[in-house]
């Protein structure tokens, strides 16, 4: 317990950094992932190809490799200089966007074709069809897996500890520098993550139960 109480500032500030990293990457990956999903369901084969290539490459690459690329390899190309924190945000966002894209796409695909055909037959415009018919139905099958994707993103922020970005995973470095008990410190970090993740898992299960009945 003393490891936690003696270093409470450290724990609070690093978990704050984790949440900040998570929030920025979550917003960016949601935006990019939705754009990619739009590419993947578009009627133009070239767009679909671009989206599919992105998703295939990023989904089959380990996140650590994406990090290594942006931290060690990207600076060699001398395009725009980015610091370690930005590199972490970029890696997490690009990687998670591929998963967000797949969730959104499969959500749209669960809406029966008849729904869209019926709304077209009624003379709805594309925007009306999307906003009033397809998306509300797609949302139900999107939210539970999207919550899992976001939980995964939250846990993935710890990968940044290998790349000199301060967040909950880097508590270990600070503790071992101070000669504190690393074993207990890491247990407290684990407890912290369980506390952060459990409510999200609970929310996800509630949504899943409520909306699986409704359809």
């Amino acid at each position: 317990m003393s490891v936690l109480t003696n270093n409470l500032d450290l724990f609070l500030s690093t978990f704050g950094q984790t949440l900040q990293l998570f929030a920025i990457s979550a917003v960016l990956s949601l935006v990019l992932g939705t754009l990619l999903a739009a590419l993947r369901v578009s009627p133009v084969p070239v767009f679909r190809g671009i989206g599919a290539t992105y998703v295939t490459v990023l989904r089959n690459t380990p996140l650590t490799l994406v990090f290594v690329f942006f931290v060690f390899a990207y600076p060699l190309l001398e395009i725009v200089k980015i610091d370690a924190y930005t590199a972490a945000v970029v890696s997490l966002s690009l990687y998670t966007a591929a998963f967000v894209c797949e969730v959104v796409r499969s959500g749209i695909n669960t809406v029966p074709v008849g729904q869209a055909e019926a709304s077209r037959a009624l003379g709805l415009t594309f925007t009306q069809m999307l906003g009033n018919v397809v998306l509300p139905q797609a949302l139900r099958s999107v939210v539970p897996p999207m919550t899992s994707t976001m939980i995964a993103l939250l846990k993935n922020t710890t990968v940044a500890s290998g790349f000199a970005v301060v967040q909950a995973g880097s508590i270990r470095d600070s503790l071992s520098e101070q000669g504190e008990n690393v074993l207990l410190g890491l247990l407290w970090v684990a407890v912290g993550f369980v506390i952060l993740v459990m409510p999200l898992t609970y929310v996800q299960q509630v949504f899943e139960k409520r909306w699986s009945v409704a359809r």
């Binding site: 133009v44 490459v57 996140l63 846990k155 710890t158 690393v182 247990l187």
Partner: protein
């Protein structure tokens, strides 16, 4: 592909699509050309920076690194499947004192980031006098995390079987264990096979996290060669492209195997087709649980 959103295009839409296709191709080509230009401008593919491929010793160390990654994957996969099977069985138990703790353990290990687990086993345990090698720490972490996810997959598979299956088996006078091993498990395993394999893809990717605790796997090999300034002038770009291609190749091979099994399942009449939506959510969930 999805045809939910768009009607079959008429003549005007076809022209529009063609214009968009041209724009799309142009944008993609421009992006690729820009990156290629940067590669050439910073001289990433000079003969000095590609020279590492020619050394026999480096080729052998590459093979060894791939071997280490695959060994960690194989050991982790076998142990995770075992762990998953045991804890799925425990969570489906009739006794609350087995079910409860199993549920808590599975939920906790699913919530802790894999990196923290690896740190715990590699940097934390020596404090208590237990010294584990990086390989052992990686394999144990992979087992605990992916095993917990697999336990949930197994449980979902068994729960989504029609109730009539177990009822009929009980009516025939089978015991609990018999119902599970002869009736429920074979069907659930077949139906969940694609999901299980996509979780194994996740496990394969997660071996790269061993990089963070100095496990000598493919990615660490890549950074070692890639940072070699005196001999090859930091060929990080070319090495990382090779490493990425190997990872993508291995993962695609596994995914392709999953797809193949799924297709074969679809033709096979012995397989009970689960509720599509439940299975889909499960797939999405396990895909998202990746690191």
């Amino acid at each position: 592909m999805s045809m939910v959103l768009f009607d079959i295009p008429g003549p005007k839409a076809r022209v529009r699509h063609r214009i968009m296709a041209v724009v799309g191709i142009a944008a993609a080509v421009a992006a690729v050309a820009y990156v290629a230009m940067r590669f050439i401008a910073t001289d990433q593919f000079s003969s000095r920076r590609l020279d590492w491929i020619n050394y026999k010793q480096i080729q052998l160390s590459l093979l060894e690194a791939i071997g280490n990654t695959l060994t960690a994957f194989a050991a982790g996969a076998v142990l995770a499947l075992l762990f998953g099977a045991i804890f799925a069985a425990a969570r489906l138990s009739d006794h609350a004192w087995v079910r409860g703790p199993a549920a808590v353990i599975v939920e906790i290990f699913r919530a802790i980031p894999l990196v923290i687990m690896m740190f715990f086993f590699y940097y934390g345990l020596p404090v208590a006098g237990v010294k584990l090698s990086a390989f052992t720490a990686v394999v144990i972490s992979l087992m605990l995390y992916n095993g917990s996810v697999l336990a949930e997959i197994f449980r979902a598979g068994i729960n989504s079987l029609p109730k009539g299956q177990s009822e009929a088996a009980y009516a025939l006078g089978m015991r609990k264990t018999q119902v599970m091993t002869f009736v429920l498990l074979p069907q659930a395993l077949r139906a969940m096979m694609p999901t299980i394999i996509s979780q194994l893809v996740v496990l394969l990717k997660d071996t790269a996290l061993g990089f963070l605790i100095t496990f000598e796997e493919l990615l660490r090999w890549g950074t070692r060669i890639g940072n070699d300034a005196p001999n090859f002038g930091r060929p990080m770009i070319s090495v990382m492209i090779v490493v990425a291609l190997i990872y993508i190749g291995l993962c695609l091979l596994l995914s392709w195997f999953a797809n193949y099994l799924e297709k074969r399942n679809r033709r096979n009449k012995k397989v009970i087709h689960l509720d599509d939506r439940a299975a889909q959510v499960q797939v999405a969930e396990s895909a998202a649980a990746s690191a």
